[in-house]
């Protein structure tokens, strides 16, 4: 298998890169800009019904009975569905299947799905769900993670082996942290907390299903992981997966919020089967807030020991993770909360003890920087404090603790390329750090932070030895190359990335590449858009497939010209003979020659990670074939009278390996940094005292508008990874992490207060300023 093949990070033809590294247009850029792009909600089918969801008004309750007779009797209602009809449990992580398409016996948060109606139009469906009568026995609800940790009663999930509200507990120690305390020159120990935030993707979740008379089911869904939806549908609907087709149309943003299989996907599928008509469900913005799967709130305790020169000797962490009502990716989150902190700095000794609990809140899941943004915030603020107390420049302390390239972390993660020092240097220079840190007028400050993130994970959520990414190429006599990939383009540009790679490898122009993606009938399996894996894995699979094809093309031309294969060069769609300068042909002619010689042309390519990870339980979770690195410097102004923090500018330097398209990489760095800044000063996914979402709308959930957005200076650092596709790593999630602590550390530089509990509301800033004054 191609899995462990190394394709090399250099240009495939010795003429330098022709496509890679250039600011090419996205393959779907025009379609999106003009409105031609088809999103799931754009799909209209003859006879299509519209479905709506009845949701729980209670945070925790037992369902005693559901009476749908009035809804069924409403003219225009064609189908009604309740949980008992789809009782099979699922979960994106196969070890923790604790969700059902609709609540079967219990509801676990306000907004949990209870029943669904398909009707001729949306208004009828809305009217019908109000006619469904549900009798509940209200149970005590647990809204607080601390409480969930200590109270087994009432259990939010019954019939588990554990009789408590603990979703997952992981404790791992590498080295001996306790032993460092007595010998350390400095010990800093503090509490930190990260609040709840959500993805707020532009497109709300939507799904459309058709069940054909021959027993085939097609689902179009705004998912970031077609393959897992495919598997979950087969399981819950108890259908042969060969009869299910899942297609992801154009997607309006995911950020992790479309990674789980969602209730609406099962519901439209089952309603389509039940009614024999196509069924669509489009969630309202409010419903998206309930579906959530956003950033896990964490309460974090960190103790770091260091020598007088700033060298870290040990890090000890205890984390309490609020999981919300369901497991979702929680098993992974719990590991990630500890496993991903062990770079870019060398931790000789490290321990973490992470506990994820269930609460009656909208379920938490993966949000950009899954599981590691919160610990990163805490640790980077703690590191800044160590630097300050030891009187070491905050950038210098980060340099001194640099882990290095081609090495291993304390928890056994293999590190390949590592451009962290260059990232630090870049932001240091760009922000004029030396002249400005600690020297700006009171109220203004700059702060630094660094981070690392996975470029894919070698942990497929269900155990199997098959490739993690597959790509198939098909050649047409017109000169068009069609690429089939299971990869999910969720706006990050993965389809474009695949087109660039194949064009580069074949020496043709990207305009001759067409990408068909995320359709389970047509495309080889890919595990989906999560864990920043698509560029690395699908990219390698694409090169693998293209390289095989290229060998055939070159051979056919070499035979026709009677020259050595090394003298055949494909360049921007023209094939030239290096031994006789005047001779050339088009790539179309070359395709014809190859088809004559080899018959119908195509190829497949695949990628699988090498064996990675420490030799202990959970050692593979968080181990990636490569890691990206980031450094941020943020500049803030604090109004000491209003407490408001204004983030003026953020410099973000990100090591993405090779930038396959610098424009798209910069877009990802800017988008990540924007999102991180938003989590510090504005966004909060809050519940009120009744367990109701405090404001499930884009008016009350304050995402920054254009005028609230800091100036963003994105800088690309290219460390060129030996195993990445042409040396590339990830850029989609890493550059979020250190934004947050960089802002926190800038606030300290500006006004001398250490803020450790997000979000930094003006009220908290004022309180901290007042506390500081009182101390003085």
């Amino acid at each position: 298998m191609a899995a462990r093949d190394q394709h090399g990070s250099e240009a495939p033809w010795d003429q330098g890169f022709r496509v890679i590294g250039k600011e090419n247009r996205k393959v779907d850029g025009m379609a999106k800009a003009t409105g031609e792009a088809i999103y799931t909600d754009d799909i209209q089918l003859p006879g299509m019904l519209h479905a709506k969801m009845l949701r729980s008004p209670h945070a925790h309750a037992r369902i005693l009975s559901i009476d749908t007779s009035k809804a069924e009797a409403l003219p225009g209602v064609i189908g009604v569905l309740v949980g008992a009809e789809l009782p099979v449990r699922y979960g994106v992580i196969p070890w923790t299947p604790d969700e059902t398409a609709l609540a079967v016996d219990k509801v676990r948060f306000i907004g949990d799905e209870v029943a669904a109606v398909a009707a001729l139009d949306e208004d009828t469906a809305n009217a019908a769900i109000r006619l469904i009568e549900v009798e509940y026995e209200i149970l005590e609800s647990i809204l607080d993670a601390e409480k969930a940790l200590i109270t087994p009663e009432p259990p939010i999930h019954e019939d588990r082996k554990r009789r408590d509200n603990i979703s997952k507990h992981v404790e791992l120690e590498f080295g001996d942290v306790e032993a460092q305390v007595s010998s350390a020159d400095i010990v800093v120990e503090e509490d930190y907390s990260f609040h709840s935030t959500t993805h707020a993707a532009m497109e709300p979740h939507c799904a459309v299903a058709v069940a054909n008379s021959d027993g085939r089911l097609t689902l179009w869904s705004s998912t970031q992981i077609t393959h897992y939806v495919h598997r979950a549908l087969a399981r819950v609907l108890q259908l042969d997966p060969a009869r299910i087709r899942v297609i992801q149309p154009c997607l309006g943003g995911g950020f992790g919020g479309k990674s789980d299989p969602f209730s609406l996907e099962f519901v439209v599928a089952q309603l389509a089967i039940k009614t024999g008509r196509p069924v669509k469900m489009l969630w309202t913005r409010e419903e998206v807030f309930y579906a959530h799967r956003g950033r896990h709130p964490m309460k974090m305790h960190y103790r770091t020991t260091a020598k007088a020169d700033g060298t870290i000797t040990g890090v000890d962490a205890k984390l309490l993770i609020d999981g919300g009502a369901y497991s979702s990716f929680g098993l992974v989150t719990t590991y990630y909360s500890g496993q991903l902190l062990t770079g870019p700095y060398d931790f000789p000794n490290y321990r973490f003890d992470s506990t994820r609990v269930f609460t009656n809140r909208p379920p938490n899941g993966p949000k950009r920087g899954h599981g590691s943004v919160q610990p990163r915030f805490a640790f980077e603020v703690q590191l800044d404090e160590i630097a300050q107390r030891l009187n070491i420049d905050p950038i210098e302390i980060r340099r001194r603790n640099f882990l290095g390239a081609h090495t291993e972390t304390v928890n056994g993660q293999r590190i390949t390329s590592n451009g962290f020092l260059e990232c630090l240097q870049e932001v240091e220079a760009a922000s004029d750090w030396k002249a400005r840190h600690g020297k700006l007028p009171h109220g203004r400050g700059i702060g630094v932070a660094g981070s690392m993130y996975i470029s894919g994970t070698n942990y497929p959520v269900y155990p199997n030895k098959m490739p993690q990414a597959g790509v198939q190429l098909k050649i047409d006599r017109s000169g068009l190359v069609t690429v089939f990939t299971g990869g999910n383009d969720i706006g990050q540009g993965s389809n474009s990335m695949v087109a660039y790679l194949v064009a580069e490898e074949l020496g043709i122009q990207p305009s001759h590449i067409k990408v068909i993606a995320a359709d389970t009938d047509l495309c080889p399996v890919d595990l989906g858009a999560y864990s920043s894996r698509v560029t690395f894995m699908v990219g390698n699979a694409a090169i693998d497939a293209a390289r095989k094809l290229r060998h055939k093309l070159v051979e056919a031309v070499a035979v026709a010209w009677d020259v050595a294969q090394k003298d055949v060069r494909f360049m921007d769609g023209t094939v030239v003979d290096l031994s006789a300068a005047a001779r050339s042909m088009t790539h179309v002619e070359a395709f014809h020659l190859a088809e004559e010689m080899f018959d119908t042309l195509g190829s497949t390519g695949a990628y699988n990670t090498p064996t990675l990870g420490g030799d202990y339980r959970g050692g593979t979770i968080g181990s990636a074939p490569a890691y990206s690195f980031t450094a941020h410097v943020a500049e803030v102004e604090v109004d000491t009278e209003t407490g408001r923090i204004t983030v003026h500018k953020v410099w973000a330097a990100h090591d993405c390996g090779r930038a396959l398209n610098p424009m798209i990489v910069r877009g990802q760095i800017e988008g990540s940094t924007y999102m991180g800044a938003a989590e510090v000063v504005l966004e909060s996914h809050d519940l009120n005292r009744f367990g109701l979402h405090a404001g499930p709308s884009l008016l009350d959930y304050r995402i920054p508008t254009a005028v609230d957005t800091p100036e963003l200076a994105a800088r690309i650092i290219e460390s060129i990874d030996p195993e990445g596709p042409f040396g590339a790593k990830e850029a989609g999630e890493g550059p979020l992490h250190s934004t947050i602590p960089a802002i926190a550390n800038a606030v300290f530089d500006a006004v001398g207060i250490r803020l450790r509990h997000l979000p930094f509301t003006p009220a908290k800033v004022l309180a901290a300023l007042r506390a500081k004054e009182e101390q003085a």
Partner: protein, 340 residues
């Protein structure tokens, strides 16, 4: 997407027709200006009118004009964007134009009208929510329920007047021209309000606001508007304060007016506080001292409640800060006072 309820739409060509159309049906009818408040509220099930009387075809309700004495007449259908950008209005009534400029977002200001802003429904975090949400809550006094969640055990709704232009218009002594079934009525804006968040106006919702009359400002009058909110755009005020300062020939303040909003059901004039400014000279200690006193008094008189989203104690801390800053801005001929 949230769905609008079903209703019929009428398009009157005159003010009289509009009023008649409101009265001729038994069920509820509502005027629709820019729709930027009414549409979301209908989607939330807060209003379910059988009939919408759309005001876009009534010529009399458009346009800005000044009479020979310099008094302004602003049609109720003039958009907030037009108010914000009108050169004569900006010169005469800076606080009004600054307030208009800080309403929601550019798109909404292109649709939203000045009349709609004055007539805006009051707002509350327990009320401006979807039907599902309010049902899960068990509703509240203002709509479909019997309890208030802001003042537990309270019998009166204290939802907040949240219209940015109202306090500015109050400091300018604006008058409203209504068309009613019994003809035209003119009333000072200050007399419009009542302390009831369910309906904070003394006139019924079937009276049509035709135009606003704003008297000519005193020579050299200045004004400013200050607005506290989370974001630099879109958000309703968490606290708003409008200021007008008139000046005598010697540069001392001859008259002053202050009015706050986003507190409770009606805009909140700060008369006593304003009086402290009279006779003081901006640029001199007397003014600065008076400003501090006004800020303290404002903090006493303005008590934000947990009706609108956000931390009401923080909003209270900001009352003196925004009051002080807005007074200084007005005196300097600057403003608005806003964090961006």
């Amino acid at each position: 997407m949230l769905r609008l309820p079903k209703f019929e739409v009428k398009n009157p060509a005159t003010v009289e027709e509009a009023v008649a159309m409101m009265m001729e049906i038994h069920g509820e009818a509502r005027f629709l200006a820019g729709g930027t408040d009414l549409n979301p509220n209908m989607k939330h099930g807060l209003f379910t009118p059988e009939r919408i009387v759309a005001l876009g075809g009534i010529e009399e309700m458009f346009g800005v004009g000044f009479d020979e004495s310099g008094n302004a007449r602003i049609g109720a259908m003039v958009t907030l964007a037009q108010v914000e950008q009108h050169p004569d209005l900006r010169r005469a009534f800076p606080a009004l134009c600054q307030a208009a400029k800080l309403v929601s977002s550019p798109q909404l200001r292109n649709m939203g009208t000045l009349g709609g802003n004055v007539m805006l429904d009051t707002r509350c975090q327990w009320y401006n929510q979807t039907y599902f949400w309010r049902n899960a809550l068990g509703y509240c006094l203002k709509k479909d329920g019997s309890k208030c969640h802001v003042i537990e055990g309270g019998s009166k709704c204290v939802a907040a007047a949240s219209n940015d232009t109202a306090p500015a218009l109050m400091t300018l002594n604006a008058e409203l021209e209504f068309a009613t079934t019994s003809g035209r009525v003119r009333m000072p804006l200050a007399d419009l309000w009542q302390a009831d968040g369910i309906w904070n106006k003394k006139i019924p919702h079937t009276d049509l606001l035709v135009a606003l009359h704003v008297p000519k400002p005193a020579a050299g009058s200045r004004g400013a508007y200050g607005k506290l909110r989370d974001r630099g755009s879109i958000d309703f005020p968490l606290f708003g304060i409008a200021v007008r300062l008139d000046f005598a020939a010697d540069g001392s303040i001859s008259d002053a007016a202050l009015c706050a909003v986003a507190l409770q059901a009606r805009p909140w004039p700060l008369k006593k506080a304003a009086e402290l400014l009279i006779g003081t000279h901006p640029g001199q200690a007397s003014f600065n001292d008076a400003v501090e006193k006004v800020a303290m008094l404002a903090a006493k008189q303005c008590r934000p409640m947990p009706n609108i989203p956000g931390d009401h104690e923080y909003r209270h801390l900001m009352v003196p800060v925004y009051t002080r800053r807005t007074l200084h801005a007005a005196a300097a001929g600057e403003g608005p006072v806003h964090h961006i």
